[in-house]
Symmetry: C2
Subunit: 216 residues, 2 copies
């Protein structure tokens, strides 16, 4: 499989984590979002949505959209599973993931920040406030949900889909210096994940396209 | 089942369509987003995310996030299915849905438009341009994907998850007078769906909380 990825894209970061947990071999193909490579003719032929990530399968098809790729990974490579087995628990787990995927991440995407600073001529401080606002709004419900968690990870001894979505979002929050003090459970869960080799390998600073000065 | 819904919420509209296609009995509980009822104490107890829709099951649990509710409906009530049966086709179908759910809809949510006009003091024309921009960007890939469709609906003779996500987004586009002339396939698919009773029943203008002047 080939994963079209950008080191800082949190949607691509999700797939890197999931491929790691499931132990699936893949090649990373970097797409430079800052130079607009994702809107180039070659890339659009493969993924007309013009976004990363995309995953090209061994059979030749390309899948787009991180949530759709992750659901496919779960269906086609179910072991180890990233969801609880009970259907209602699974739906509640998935709702937290979708809360991140729909109500936090899209608002803080690079293309959106560029629209704010470019087309709408907003200053850096206003763009930063926008960024922090949507993370704060979204993390409130995640923090409440983690209050019910009595284990180290969302699936007991193992991280699940929640961590796949949450950890890249926490990385973004740190990067934009968002105050995470109201979210101690999220910070703790993140620190548990950072100790695992699959999360370290998927981290933006360890990618083939990450700048040398960001590497550990 | 009880569906917490707001007549104009396109995420709630998705669930209304899917419940209709699957023929599942439910009661609609209106939540007035314009007065902030979704952030009231009573509602937050049920759904800490403070967003509609939410679906309370007969067993008492509440599910949040339209995509998570729809996946649960598909898993718990698989007949009729809203997805193609082949896993790769299913993933590609789901990617189009997620493109709408993640890359169009969240940017045009009421709370986001209010942040633009309130906190960022943008004029109506700038908010309208923002709205149209993200619909246009997103509809390009959907229009391309529909070029491969040789049948009336995405699942042949029947609408599927794509229509569940797309038709509410087309309703939004019409409401905000977005120019849809570059998207003739989307407009045609919408008109096919509008002829079906389940889509008519789910339409915002036919809800218990829709204003009398908007009813057909």
């Amino acid at each position: 499989m080939e994963l079209y990825s950008y080191f800082r894209s949190s949607a691509a970061y999700r797939i890197r984590i999931a491929l790691g947990i499931k132990g699936l071999e893949h090649k990373i193909v970097p797409v430079n979002l800052t130079t607009g490579q994702q809107r180039g003719e070659d890339y659009l032929k493969n993924n007309p949505q013009g976004l990363v990530p995309a995953l090209t399968l061994e059979s030749g098809e390309t899948l787009a959209q991180s949530s759709a790729i992750l659901e496919w990974l779960e269906e086609a490579h179910p072991d180890p599973s990233l969801y609880p087995q009970n259907l209602i628990s699974k739906a509640q787990h998935r709702a937290l993931c979708q809360h991140i995927a729909c109500d936090i991440h899209p608002l803080n995407n690079l293309r959106v920040l560029r629209y704010l600073s470019g087309t709408l001529k907003q200053e850096k401080t206003q763009v930063d406030d926008w960024y922090a606002h949507w993370i704060h709004q979204g993390f409130i419900a995640i923090e409440i949900a983690l209050g019910d968690l009595e284990t180290e990870f969302s699936l007991g001894n193992n991280p699940g889909m929640l961590e796949v979505f949450l950890i890249p979002q926490v990385y973004n929050a740190y990067r934009f210096k968002v105050d995470l003090s109201p979210f101690p459970r999220i910070v703790t869960l993140d620190s548990h994940c950072q100790k695992l080799a699959v999360f370290a390998k998927a981290h933006p600073s360890c990618q083939v396209d990450s700048p040398v000065e960001e590497r550990p």
